[in-house]
């Protein structure tokens, strides 16, 4: 009886061990892996009441600020940033024509790029602009060499009028979506 079972059992085990197969694998494919996540974040938000704009005076600069912004020129970001889009939204419910300027500065203070927005007084629709950096758009180096932003807002109108809308104010919103190559 043993003769009946031992040889087949051994044969089965030897078969599985000796004749096991392995389909050909190509581990070099890993080199082709492309990981390019898109990171989104709000950047800057400015809100100014019309009362403050009036208090500064007509035809005056009511906000000006340089903000150190090293996020872009961090070594990893500078080396791996593929493209980016910065979105601006401006909402003006004041009675004044306003001008907003955003300048991208390098570490020596040179202006790399500037966005200038002339904003009509209310009633003005929500203004929205997407600025693309990368192939087909603005030079990506503008972002990777930016180390500070200079934001200024000017009142191009008077300093006495007040909008009839409730809580009149200027709002600047901005956010970016940036694509990196991780692999």
């Amino acid at each position: 009886m043993r003769r009946l079972f031992i040889p087949p059992t051994l044969a089965v085990i030897i078969f599985f061990l000796a004749f096991s197969c392995a389909e050909k694998q190509d581990f070099n494919q890993f080199d082709d892996l492309s990981i390019t996540p898109t990171v989104a974040s709000s950047l800057f938000y400015l809100e100014s009441e019309e009362q403050h704009i009036n208090a500064v005076g007509d035809l005056n600069n009511f906000y000006s600020q340089i903000v150190n912004f090293e996020a872009f020129n961090e070594q990893f970001v500078a080396e791996n940033l593929l493209e980016g889009t910065i979105t601006y939204e401006i909402e003006n419910t004041t009675s004044k024509e306003l001008s907003i300027t955003i300048e991208f500065l390098d570490e020596t203070g040179n202006v790399l790029d500037a966005q200038v927005f002339d904003v009509d007084p209310t009633p003005a629709p929500l203004f929205s602009l997407e600025v693309f950096y990368g192939p087909g758009g603005k030079n990506i180096d503008i972002l990777t060499t930016t180390s500070a932003l200079r934001i200024s807002a000017n009142n191009l109108g008077d300093s006495t009028s007040v909008s009839t809308l409730p809580e009149p104010k200027l709002i600047l919103r901005s956010a970016g979506e940036f694509t990196f190559r991780l692999k």
Partner: protein, 484 residues
């Protein structure tokens, strides 16, 4: 011939095991002395046994419940990034895991009590490595796709990061007692000596970028995450040293910890075998109910807190006094303060992964008379003993505590005995790794020499890279059978 050579090498180097945590082939295969390690209350047949001690050797098992090597690296002409996205990022769930378990039997000895022949004592030492990493689905998606584009509004679960691993040396001593002709019980005490251990503890949190209240986006993060490690820093320090003695230092550290110089713990196993009637037997066991007190070489990492931000925000005129050039740095500092990353060396308790087995066996096909070396001495009662029957069929259950709950497996088996020297067991097992797991075990007794080989998931050998699970175990014992 290669196989024979490997078998011979294994014979020279002793018992080498290669298996997953579920040892369904070994369980209740009581002709093999090592079945005591998965049920200390298994029926014991020997007068004494000695496992051929390991002189060197390493065993390794790997399993994946999700993607296989072949799924990603088959030379199929499909773009690799597409395969990663479809089969890994989108195809796997957070309950899928990659796991590896290996075990090396240092030595294994058993003997029957001289004054109490109903007792069978066994002791030994083995090393075990067990690592499980759950697929961090949301974190992988965040790294692969980012939080922008289509992922605006998606909440990424930081709790997806779950892993556990350890290397431990186990010294054990067990007592197996035949209470009656129908009941055998057993227990095993264990002393654990940890070489290293790491685990995440109930990680919780989320990361979400959505439409902002003031600005265009708001990004919010809630995190309560902890990674505990012990024994890892010492190893890393040696590896990072550039002294030229890395290998020697590592071996020294390893030996120290193996020989109870590391973090220590205690545990036990318990089990029983109960014969309901001459043909039906039920068994059960619980293994590794124990803990390790990790107090040496401990390093824990925590990230805890919550924050949300909409970028730099300036409200005029309220913020005029606060305006400066460092608004961005201030924002980053605020976030780091709200969600601090910290390290500490507080000791902690780690629990061993508890395993539970249960089985029912039905015997049929009456055998012939026993010979002297039938291996049935202490439990032999003629037709009262299931060794009298040539065939057994039954079912087994296996449960194991894992970081994400209980991992279960169900097994059906058929066992055939041919005389006193040969038996085999074949199993079908369904678990999270495979629904086509067919195993085959063979036990050979040649005089006092016992050889067994247990191979699992044999269908996976058709294309090993496409297999979710591989397991092989074999070993040699010297056995003296009962003569009473």
């Amino acid at each position: 011939m290669k196989i024979c050579r490997y078998l011979l090498l294994a014979a020279l180097f002793g018992a080498i095991t290669l298996h997953g945590q579920n040892k369904q082939l070994l369980y209740d295969f009581y002709e093999i002395p090592q079945s005591l390690l998965v049920n200390p209350g298994v029926k014991t047949l020997e007068k004494w046994h000695v496992g051929v001690p390991v002189l060197s050797g390493l065993s390794f098992q790997a399993g994946t419940s999700g993607v296989t090597v072949n799924d990603l690296f088959a030379n199929d002409g499909i773009d690799f990034t597409t395969k990663v996205r479809e089969r890994l990022i989108d195809g796997m769930s957070k309950r899928d895991d990659f796991s590896t378990t290996s075990q090396i039997d240092g030595f294994n000895i058993g003997f029957r009590g001289k004054n109490r022949p109903d007792d069978y004592y066994s002791f030994g030492m083995y090393g075990e490595t067990d690592i499980i990493v759950y697929w961090p689905k949301d974190l992988a998606a965040l790294a692969f796709e980012g939080n922008g584009g289509a992922n605006i509004g998606r909440s990424f679960d930081l709790g997806d990061l779950s892993l556990r691993g350890e290397m431990v040396n186990v010294a054990h001593f067990g007592v197996n007692r035949k209470i009656s002709n129908t009941l055998t019980i057993g227990a095993r005490a264990k002393v654990y000596s940890s070489i290293f251990q790491f685990q995440t503890i109930q990680n919780f949190g989320s990361f979400r970028t959505s439409q902002g209240q003031d600005n265009i986006f708001t990004t919010s993060i809630t995190a309560d995450m902890k990674l505990q490690t012990s024994g890892v820093e010492g190893i890393v320090d040696i590896l990072e040293e550039d002294t030229g003695t890395t290998q020697r230092d590592l071996a020294k550290l390893f030996m120290k910890r193996v020989l109870f110089g590391g973090n220590l713990g205690l545990g036990f196993d318990a089990g029983f075998t109960h014969q309901l009637n001459p043909q039906t037997t039920i068994t059960g066991s619980v293994l590794d109910v124990g803990f390790i007190h990790n107090s040496k070489d401990v390093r824990n990492y925590t990230v805890s807190g919550n924050a949300s931000n909409e970028g730099i925000t300036v409200f005029l005129p309220e913020d005029i006094p606060n305006l400066n050039n460092n608004l961005w740095e201030d924002l980053v500092d605020e976030l780091e303060e709200a969600i601090p990353y910290e390290e500490n060396d507080k000791s902690y308790i780690s629990f061993r992964p508890v395993k539970v087995y249960g089985s029912i066996r039905y015997n049929f096909g009456e055998g012939s008379v026993f010979d002297e070396n039938c291996g049935c001495g202490i439990n032999a009662q003629g037709g009262q003993n299931d060794a009298f029957y040539r065939n057994s069929v039954g079912g087994q259950l296996f449960f194991m505590k894992r970081p994400r709950g209980v991992q279960a497996a169900v097994t059906g088996f058929f066992q055939k005995r041919l005389g006193s020297g040969f038996s085999f067991k074949t199993t079908y097992t369904a678990d999270k790794y495979s629904l086509t797991n067919i195993g085959l075990g063979l036990n050979l007794q040649m005089g006092p020499v016992n050889f067994y080989i247990l191979g699992d998931n044999l269908l996976g050998y058709q294309n090993i890279p496409d297999s979710h699970y591989a397991s092989l175990q074999f070993g040699f014992n010297i056995i003296s059978w009962n003569d009473n």
